[in-house]
């Protein structure tokens, strides 16, 4: 197949150094080479498509040349303008390093707050906590095999509900929770901003001696680790009888 003759023409772009930042859009074209000539910047090796692209056309204060036998011609001109400058060419990526904006030390943003929300989550984990009614637990536990109770710990909430923690949980109905570090979240939910969970854990539970239990309405409550007792038939009967 014949070569497209137009593709052989190499275009040059020249721009004042003060407009260097306007070159950002073409920095990712890796075929380009770039060189500095006092207060001017030269970029070479554009092909026809590139030089007519939106990215190049949107660069202001530029001068475009094309090269023929060692001479540079202004675009759309047949008179040679000058010779190809002999410069130290580097790839455009290296010549235009990425700079990050410097930190603004005068900006504090002390009054800004963010809301911590929990949202439905895609990932799955095993449930390790459960809130259920005492009556539900009572019917199961009277005939429970010891093996199903031995890994569980429990505590009583509000006189009519119990919180059971451990796995595997009992086969009874109740609201289940899964664990994210010291947090127990309703199963199926995770923090909206889960990157904050460590910071949140330090704020809510600085001594790491409690579990933080979240409700679906974004409220939470703490249960001290020492408030849990091993779940056994005897422990259940004695606690419930003492009411």
């Amino acid at each position: 197949m014949a070569k497209n003759a137009e593709n052989d023409i190499k275009y040059f772009l020249q721009i004042e150094k003060i407009y260097q930042d306007d070159l950002a859009n073409i920095r990712l074209w890796q075929n380009l080479k770039m060189a500095f000539d006092e207060d001017k910047i030269w970029i070479k090796d554009f092909d026809y498509v590139q030089i007519n692209s939106l990215e190049v056309k949107s660069i202001p204060y530029k001068t475009i040349f094309y090269e023929k036998s060692g001479k540079l011609f202004l675009q759309n001109s047949r008179l040679p303008e000058r010779n190809v400058p002999s410069l130290l060419w580097a790839s455009i990526e290296r010549a235009l390093p990425v700079r990050l904006p410097s930190f603004n030390h005068n900006y504090f943003g002390v009054n800004e707050t963010i809301n911590i929300n929990i949202i439905p989550s895609e990932s799955e984990a095993e449930a390790v906590g459960m809130i259920t009614k005492i009556t539900n637990l009572s019917t199961y536990i009277q005939t429970a095999p010891a093996i199903r109770l031995q890994n569980l710990r429990w505590t009583i909430l509000n006189n009519d509900k119990v919180f059971i923690i451990g796995k595997p949980l009992l086969p009874i109905t109740g609201e289940t929770f899964w664990q994210r570090k010291d947090f127990l979240l309703p199963t199926g939910y995770d923090f909206d901003l889960h990157i904050l969970s460590d910071i949140l854990a330090n704020k809510l539970n600085p001594d790491k001696d409690s579990f933080v239990i979240w409700n679906k309405d974004n409220n939470y409550f703490l249960i001290h680790r020492n408030d849990f007792q091993n779940l056994s038939i005897g422990s259940f009967r004695e606690s419930v009888n003492s009411f």
Binding site: Q142, I147, R148, P168, G234
Partner: protein, 212 residues
Amino acid sequence: MPPQEYFLNMIKNLRQNEDVMLYNNILKVNEIETEIAIEFLKKEYQNETLNFPFQSPDFDKNAALWAAKTVYISAQLILYRENKSEDIPTLLPDFQDTISPSSILSADLCLRFLPDMLVQLKFFDSEDPLVEILEKILSQWHYSGINSPLEIDKLDFTVIDSDDCLRQLYINRIIENKSLNLAKLPPFKDNILANLGIYGKEFWKEFSLETN
């Protein structure tokens, strides 16, 4: 310490600290002590029934006392042997009543320590005639001997299977001791499978491999 309380103190110490402590070589147990010991064992039994599933059987004082005496005299015979071998069967009489769920659970208060004592005895002298007698007791009261090597063919499970509470406690002990041979028997296998549910592999891997 008044001399008449050797038996009582040994039983209390056994229940509370799980140690065998003997004060003297006295094989006799007097009446007053017996009454106090029964009261003590009854209280211990009531504490344990708190942890029993289903409806707990009543306390059987004859079985509890018989078991306490058996353990006391066995310990005496293991540590201070002054009697001849022929006297041993008369010192350790069989249980006179029929064995019921109540008697099994009441006797277990003390009999559960017998397997460990048997291990000690075999360590001293495995040829001792007492070994055979204790093994016979354990095969009759096998709920207390699940953690010792039992001859499973000779065991009778009809009483165990007749009571929901005792059956569940028996199964708890099988699972706790991971006694695979007992677990595979018909009265227990299906119940254990139901107890473990879908968590069989986590709780007891060998059993779930055997049954699959």
